[in-house]
Every structure is written in C-alpha cells, then in structure tokens.
C-alpha cells in the first residue's frame, strides 16, 4: 500500500477535523471526496507533515508521517488549492527553483523545468513573468512544480478549481495521463464529483472528519444500496415517509424526480407496496445506475 493511516485524528482547537480515520490506498488514482469541512485538506496536510496528528499513525510509501516527513516530501508532489507563486519570477525559474529545493542538482532542475513546462502546455509562456499568468496558467504551473522532481505520488488539492471548461478538460487530461501511463499515483481531493468520477477508480469519502466510505467506485456503487428514480402522482409526503420508515433515503429533485436509495436488504417491490399503501400512482419507475453524485449523496447526505 502506498498510503496507510490508522486511527488518524486531528483537531483545530475544539473543532475535530479528523476523527479516527483508518484507510489503505493502493496504486492508481484515488479520489478524496467530502463536503466542506470534512477533513480532506487536513488529511493531505497530515500526510505531507504540515500538521502533526493528535492521535494515530500513518505511512506514505512506507515512510512514517511523524518521523520521516523529509523523505515523504521528496517522494510527493503537492499541488495546493490556492494560487501560489513567487513574485518576480518566470515559470522556468520558478519550476527549477522548487526542483532544486526538492533536492535536484541545479542544472538538472533547470533542464527538467523546461520539460515539465512543455508537458503542461506552458512551453511558449515559460519565460513570462508569473504575475501576468491567467488562472488557468497558474493552475498548470502548480502542476508543473509538483511534477518537476518526478514524484512517486501526486497530492492534488482541487486541481480544476477556477478553470473554464476547456482549461478544466485539459488539466484533467494531464492528470489522467499521469496516473494512467506514467506510474505516478494520484491522490485527488476535489469537490467536483465529475472530476473524481472521470479520473479515479478508487474513492475515499470523508464526512465530518470520519471515513464515510472507501473502496473501488464500482463496488461502492453496488454494494450499499440500489437507486431508483421515479415520478409519482399523489401524496408525496406520505409516500416519502413510508419509504423512509423502511430505511430508504428519499431525495426530491426540483423537476419532481424522486430518487430512492434503497438498502441492500430491500427489494423494488417495497416501493410499489409503499405506493399502494399511501395511494400514490407511480408514473415512471427506473432503476438507475448510481453516479458518484448519487453515491456521495447516499453516503454523506448532501445533494
């Protein structure tokens, strides 16, 4: 396992950010999901050694997160969420500078900076001052500095935030290429479910500092519940109450669509029985393939 944490806990003063998180992450792209305040960024920061956990232990590439932070940082490339650069520098200087700080020899860092800047599509703009870069360019630059020392793992914190659709697709394409073809593991923290769904095979969902779900997306979709989408005519409130009483989760969309997340033990006939009991007419009934959004809503309880 490349990342393993056990009973990891951290709090900011009285606020619990992580509470006994235990997980093991293997190869490939892993999505880190959760609503705001779930503890995603805190987890990344603990793995990088920015924060010392209050309790628990962890390893990144077999390096202890408490004692071998320096080794972890050599092996990890970190792309932070917020814009960050060094004023007065151009992209080549900036990228090679952080390569050097990672431990690369100066000449090698400079050569490598050119390569990764071309890779992320900043080849033409590599001598421009960073102060003049657009949001999309800064995002790519952050990816370049994370890649410059050829890390074994990439920690990407909201890599597509503030990007227009084209820029977002391009950055996703890069991340897909890196994780699929370059044998670099990617841990992607994002609130954009589509990004995670399109890139990651494995997902970790955090909720209020606790691990809400972890596993392969395909498994998570099927194991925990079945999703049905229906349209009804009649007393929706009573129908909903009946289903919820049987352990299902019911979400009503704005367009009148009702999503029913049924626990494993339930069968589809339970929906028909509930409709019969409450005098509701089923106008449409579809068993839906659970998207990550549905999974997220089912696990975390957020639309």
């Amino acid at each position: 396992m490349s990342i393993e944490v056990k009973d990891l806990s951290f709090r900011y003063g009285k606020i619990v950010a992580l509470d006994g998180v235990t997980m093991s992450l293997g190869e490939g792209a892993v999505g880190l999901l959760g609503p705001n305040g779930a503890g995603k960024s805190t987890l990344l920061r603990i793995l990088l050694g920015f924060l010392v956990p209050e309790r628990g232990e962890g390893k990144v590439l077999d390096y202890d997160i408490r004692r071998e932070q320096s080794m972890i940082r050599r092996s990890v490339g970190y792309m932070p969420e917020s814009d960050c650069f060094v004023a007065g520098m151009d992209a080549v200087t900036f990228t090679s500078y952080f390569g050097e700080l990672s431990g690369m020899p100066r000449q090698e860092a400079m050569k490598r900076a050119h390569e990764v800047l071309f890779y992320v599509g900043l080849g033409e703009a590599r001598y421009r001052l960073l102060d003049t870069y657009s949001a999309g360019m800064k995002q790519r630059l952050k990816l370049a500095q994370a890649l410059v020392h050829d890390p074994k793992i990439l920690f990407l914190d909201e890599p597509t935030s503030n990007l227009d659709p084209t820029g977002r697709q391009e950055v996703l394409e890069l991340i897909r290429d890196i994780s699929a073809h370059k044998s670099i593991q990617v841990l992607l923290s994002s609130h954009i479910l589509d990004d995670i769904e399109s890139l990651c095979e494995t997902v970790v969902i955090l909720k209020q500092g606790k691990l809400a779900a972890e596993g392969r997306m395909a498994d998570l979709r099927t194991i925990h519940y079945s999703l049905y989408e229906l349209r009804i005519k009649g007393d929706g409130a009573a129908f909903r109450k009946d289903l919820e009483g049987a352990g299902s989760r019911v979400d009503e969309m704005e367009d009148g669509l009702i999503k029913v997340y049924m626990p494993e033990a339930s069968v589809r006939m339970d929906i028909f029985r509930a409709a019969a009991r409450t005098g509701v007419q089923l106008r449409s009934f579809v068993k839906s393939r659970t998207s990550l959004e549905d999974l997220f809503a089912g696990v975390v309880g957020v639309d």
Binding site: Y12, S41, R45, L48, F50, L51, Q69, S70, M71, R73, R74, V76, Y78, P80, E81, S82, D83, C84, F85, V86, A87, G88, M89, T93, Y97, F98, E100, L101, S102, G103, M104, P105, R106, E108, R112, E115, F118, Y119, V120, G121, L122, G123, E124, A125, S134, G136, M137, R140, Q145, L147, H149, D150, E170, V171, E173, L174, D177, I178, H181, K182
Partner: protein, 290 residues
C-alpha cells in the same frame, strides 16, 4: 495558449540529493530577485558612496602635504585609527543606506511569500522552518556584509597599501576583528529586524514603510523623550542610537551617549529575541490552513 502535452512526460533518471545547506537556493534566488529591480540597483550602487568617501579620506590622510590647501586645518579628521573606522561604521548615513537597501531589496522576502501563499510550496519540499528562515536571513546577511564587512576590510587593506607598511596593522591588530564583529552584529540585528517586519504584512510596500518608519520613529521618540526626561538612557529607545553605542564599544571608542553599551546590546538582543518569537509563530504550516 498552447495545447497541453506539447511534449510527453518522461521520468527523471537522476537522484535527489540531501544538500548540506538546503537553504542555499532560497538565498541565491532572493539575491537574484533583488537585483531584478531597477530601482534597487541604483540604491545599491549609491550605498557604496560612504565607503568611497572614506577610501578617498584614507588616500588623502597619507598625502596630507599634497592636499594641504584643500584641507585648511581639517586634517585632524583624517587621523586614521579605530575612531576613523568607528565613524565610518556608525555614521547615520551608512546605517540609513543599509536600511534603504534592505527595505527596497529584502522587504518582500516573507511578505511576498505570504501574499502569494507560497509558504506551502516551500514546506512541501524537504525544508524545515529553520532552513527557510536561514535562507531568507542569508539574503539580508549578503547585503549587510557587502556594505559593512567588505568595505571595512578593503579600507584596512587600502590603508596598508597607501601607507606602504604594516605599521597600522601592527598598531591595531584587533581592528579587522572589530570590523567583522560589528558587521556580524549589524547582520544579525537587521536580519531579525527586517524579517520580523516582513512577516507582519502581506504587502511589501507596507513593509518598506515599516522598515523605515520603525527605524526613524524610534530615533524621533528618543529625541522627544530625552527632551522631556533629560536622561541619556532614552537613547535605548532608538534603533540607530543602540547600534552606534554597540559600534563604539566594539571599536574601543567612547559611546556617543552616556549609557553603558551593555544596555544597548541587551536592547538589540531583546529585539532579536522578540523577532525570533514572532517569526516562529508566523512562519509555520498554519499558513497553509485557510
């Protein structure tokens, strides 16, 4: 914008090295960035004027007969000895020029990193807080030493060259140590002073104003308090006065204010300690927490 993956990604086949001085790239880059500012280059060049003036003074002191008509009795000022060096190092203009160079060249050392959230990039590398601060402080050390220790030692060498003998050196063998000692004091003090002020704001212009403001205001405060309380101990409130007191002590001269020099050393040490405390709190991974 060019399309992504203009060139494919290839793995780097080198090995990361554990540097003996991991902060060195920070120092080198900090110095390079300072020299990219046009205004700074002019100020930096201008900061050598006192050294040049004192160098001319050295030359004239060895050729008093030739310059008799120009000097008109002021040749006693050119009695080159420890006092001459003490005056060079503790005169207001040199100290002010050092402050000027540091304000324009290094004011943004931490402020810019805070403004552009780049601390998290530094600390995602195998760098400790100590490495980061040493790297930044070394930028300040470079500029302070190049304006103090370097000209000081050069002045001693030129004195020997102009005199054509080692008599001066044999007479004051400790003088190079005084030069280095006072330069080191200025380096440490200004290192903490500038980094402290650079860490209290994200705006490098405010930092520039603060560096000047605190330096000048402390001296104004000294003047006001002294006129009220009529005691030389008020000099302890002034940054330049404390530096001058310490300088006079290190060059074996009478302090300009009737206060034991040890008090000035204590004040300067207290400012450094306070700065270290503030820096320790400001520069940490907490920066990455939004």
């Amino acid at each position: 914008m060019a399309t992504v993956r203009e060139k494919g990604y290839s793995h780097w086949d080198g090995h990361l090295i554990a540097r003996r001085f991991p902060w060195w790239p920070i120092t080198r880059t900090g110095i390079q960035l300072a020299f990219r500012k046009k205004r700074f280059k002019i100020i930096f060049a201008g900061a050598f004027i006192p050294s040049f003036v004192f160098l001319v003074g050295l030359y004239v002191s060895e050729r008093l007969e030739d310059f008799k008509t120009f000097l008109q009795g002021s040749d006693r000022l050119l009695n080159v000895g420890p006092k001459y060096f003490s005056i060079y190092f503790t005169n207001d203009s040199l100290l002010f020029l050092i402050v000027l160079v540091l304000a324009f060249g290094t004011g943004g050392l931490i402020a810019d990193d805070l403004k552009h959230s780049s601390l998290q990039l530094y600390f995602s590398r195998p760098l400790s807080k100590k490495d980061y601060l040493i790297g930044k402080m070394s930028v300040i050390a470079f500029f302070v030493l190049i304006l103090t220790a370097l000209p000081g030692l050069v002045l001693i060498i030129f004195k020997l060259i102009f005199a054509g003998s080692f008599k001066f050196f044999l007479q004051y063998p400790w003088l190079p140590l005084s030069v280095l000692g006072y330069s080191a004091l200025l380096t440490v003090f200004f290192g903490f002073y500038v980094l402290l002020l650079s860490s209290v704001s994200k705006n490098a212009r405010y930092v520039l104003i603060l560096i000047f403001g605190v330096y000048i205001f402390s001296n104004v405060l000294f003047g006001i308090l002294q006129s009220i309380f009529r005691t030389p101990y008020m000099a302890l409130f002034s940054v330049p006065a404390n530096l001058q007191q310490a300088g006079a002590f290190l060059f074996g001269q009478k302090p300009p204010h009737a206060v034991p020099a040890v008090w000035s050393f204590a004040v300067l040490a207290a400012i450094c300690a306070l700065s270290a405390l503030v820096l320790d709190r400001k520069i940490r991974s907490v920066e990455v927490i939004k």
